[in-house]
Symmetry: C2
Subunit: 190 residues, 2 copies
């Protein structure tokens, strides 16, 4: 037996139907609307869990990359929406960190508070700001585990210069979690 | 602008020169020797950070997948050796969890204690056992950050049935960290 074929990671085909790549996003609410729209479409199209994320250039409000939960579609437990967005952004910029790349800073907007894995990745990613929709407890209520995240985990990131904003459009984000439950969506890490 | 090309994730070409895929591994020490050999070769070949990992079928001692740190090589901050090994194992088995797949259980052997991101991914991966070489403090001593990992983080995994073994061949694993330092290796998340 030899080594394996490369793993391919991509977003579903419908992404380009939903995303206007040329738009400028001027508020957390606008940015969050996109993240939630991604999470909703992922549920409606049956392409994954009820989570979406996007990375923006903080200064210009331009969209750099998006991600939707792809765990089941791509048989890969690491592919939470935040992870996909981070990978896509770094591939696009050709760098393993988004920290003050081209004199810009970057922010991650996610439809739900990040799990333990994603919180770690956020620290490594170099984004300077995180905007969250639904709370961790909203996802837990649905049966999704969030892993070893503690109040100190968030404090740890903040102490290293990562601003975290919570509960932006929480109701709209939580409605997508509820939609997933109603459709009998798989709780792949419960 | 349209959506992006898929991201390709693979191990370096030299992997098949180092790894005997047909061998059975009968002890933690044997398994750790492979993880450390991967970490060392990654440094010597200049293909990444000083970290290697492998996933084994616990019952048969067969090798399922390996990973080496690929953060800089592939411009992707998420590609710690443990993450690559988990992705490769799940791609090979065609499933987003390794939990009691084909009535087998799986274990991850890593040349260094996992960071916050990898600890989270380990929980999602479905491996039931983790064997670590160097301690977190050994990596920190080199300048590598480990992120928001607390004693409760390990307790959290243990409470969910993930056994964690520490310090197997710590000296040999730490020697590779030292080798990386001597070669002036990049601390990509310092």
């Amino acid at each position: 037996m030899s080594s394996f074929s490369p793993i391919h990671i991509d977003n579903p085909d419908w992404i380009d139907l939903l995303v206007d790549w040329d738009r400028h996003y001027v508020s957390d609410e606008n940015k969050m609307r996109l993240a939630i729209a991604l999470s909703r479409e992922n549920v409606l199209r049956g392409t994954g869990g009820p989570f979406g994320a996007a990375i923006f250039d903080t200064h210009f409000g331009t969209l750099v990359a998006v991600g939707v939960n792809s765990v089941v579609r791509l048989n890969n437990c690491t592919l939470h929406s935040e992870m996909v967005a981070i990978m896509m952004a770094q591939a696009r910029l050709g760098c393993f960190t988004l920290r003050e790349k081209n004199a810009s800073t970057y922010e991650l907007v996610t439809s739900c508070e990040p799990c333990a894995m994603c919180l770690g990745a956020i620290l490594w990613s170099g984004v300077r700001r995180v905007v969250c929709g639904a709370y961790r407890d909203d996802a837990r209520h649905l049966g999704f585990e969030e892993g070893p995240v503690f109040p100190e985990s968030h404090a740890y990131l903040k102490a290293r210069g990562v601003e975290i904003v919570y509960g932006v459009q929480r109701d709209a984000a939580t409605a997508v979690l509820e939609l997933y439950r109603l459709k009998g969506g798989l709780i792949y890490n419960g």
